[in-house]
Amino acid sequence: MEIRNPRIQEIISEENLVYKKTSLMTDKALSYCPGCGHGVVHRVIMEIIDEMGIQADTIGVAPVGCSVLAYEFMNIDMQQASHGRAPAVATGIKRCWPEKYVFTYQGDGDLAAIGTAETIHACNRGENIAIFFINNGIYGMTGGQMAPTTLVGMRSSTTPYGRDAALMGNPLKITELVAMLPGTYFVARHTVHTPLAVRKFKKAAKMAFENQKLNKGLSFIEIVSNCNSGWKMTPVQANKWMEENMLPFYPPGDIKMNGEIVKKAEKAE
């Protein structure tokens, strides 16, 4: 769009630039609901790849879930995986290109329900890949059904009266679970709902890529995120609800660093 107003033109000049979209995000409009965390996580991962200058050596794996079309937004070589199998797909890629950077991007249904076996075993083998795990406590793409991570009492389209642990089981803290496996080198939980949280996540995401050079095992980052559509809330309400309900159960912080479990996850911000 051409802007004619000279005042605006002056404001948007190069020297006033405070933020620029990385060229590793394509110009395609994001298909995510406004306020959804998926887009922020995409951007941060692409910024890291850009800053590290590893675009030519990076392959991403997209899941089945709202982020199934991640490859339309991420300007890198990518492969789309079947539901839950991204860690196996990434294993196949990484074993064939051990020098390249390989990551998966997966939702909670994808990673912690249908793909539990692939997740646990890729972690346990210590595949030198990074896993980005978007936990929004729900199946966003299929219209808001219960996920393995759905909180007790939380409503979804298949738990319209709230999740009853006695009938439907308990929410699964798969991140704590994979941290116990000797194959994981770095395990952390983050959020992207405040600027500070985004900065912290970015540091962790960078480490997840840098770790791949060490060949010491898998880096696993959970991002507790919102699904305002699935939760039937406005984006602002969803973030507040997430802070009050999700984060006490899924507390952000480092869980395992350099292959060692760290004391205790830090309190919710």
Binding site: V61, L69, I76, A81, A88, T91, C96
Partner: protein, 356 residues
Amino acid sequence: MGKMKLMKGNEAFAEAAIRAGCDAYFGYPITPQSEVMEYLAAQQPQLRTGMVLLQAESEVAAINMVYGAAGTGKRVMTSSSSPGISLKQEGISYLAGSQLPCLILNVMRGGPGLGTIQPSQSDYFQATKGGGHGDYRMIVLAPASVQEMSDFVKLGFELAFKYRNPVIMLSDGIIGQMMEKVELFEQVPRLTEFDQQWVTTGKTPDRERNVITSLDLDPARHERHNLKLQAKYQKMRENEVRFENIDCDDAEYLFVAYGSCARICQKSVKLARAKGIKVGLIRPVTLFPFPSEEIGRRAAKLKGILTVELSSGQMIEDVRLAVDGKVRVALHNRMGGMVPSPEEVVDALLKSFSIR
């Protein structure tokens, strides 16, 4: 001539994989094909050629590792037996939909369900008609000897890359387990160059990003993709039909059989001819594409065709389509791991067509 070795079918397949310059094998143990991974492990292919060998946590994981590895443009394979091949079907559909080359071996055992570990040919429909969801085909090679368990690895990779499509070797417990002399081909180097038009190597500035996917939410574009796939399968039908004729020229009757049943029928041809019955054998080597033209061409001159199968009668449907009613097609079959003797097959021929 190369050196002859005495090997099991499964071992010959595994040795051929290394020699064919295979880059990666992903598998999960199941009888009667576990020797494939065991042989590979003993050979330490990572030292011999740099080939990756990984025992996966399931057949589902194994086929998805194949899918990921195939996306890198390398030569990759997996092997299993019937129940495991069922688990791989979603992955195979993704491989076909994303147009990725790979080689899959099914050493068939009897079903349904857990069935039996004994040989069978009851996965014919699954291999030739699709198996997984969606409109897709694989080239299906049917080895009938230990020699072919080796040779078809090389051929299979060639065809997989020629069409960017999965190729399946449909073997069975007899061919996999039996020992025969085999002449192994010379070592082929592993791939060092990759087609930058589609493989995932990491996006370089000189090209657009490569995306491997089977998804397209735009109906018009997705229909075009399907038409492209169908055109490819048509090319396979035109160019890749393979079969073997034994004593067909003066034949009044024909056996049609593949794999281990073809071996049995070879003996049956001799026994029947000794009795003065003019019978020949057509052995389909590719089950998809099926040698329909060859069988159809001969139909009008025949008095009868007997298909011999270790299933309830699956290939017979393709034989009947091929002859288009021009001659009666009968079935002799065994199931559940039972295998017919050559004499039994001759008797079935005599009975089916009231030959005296």
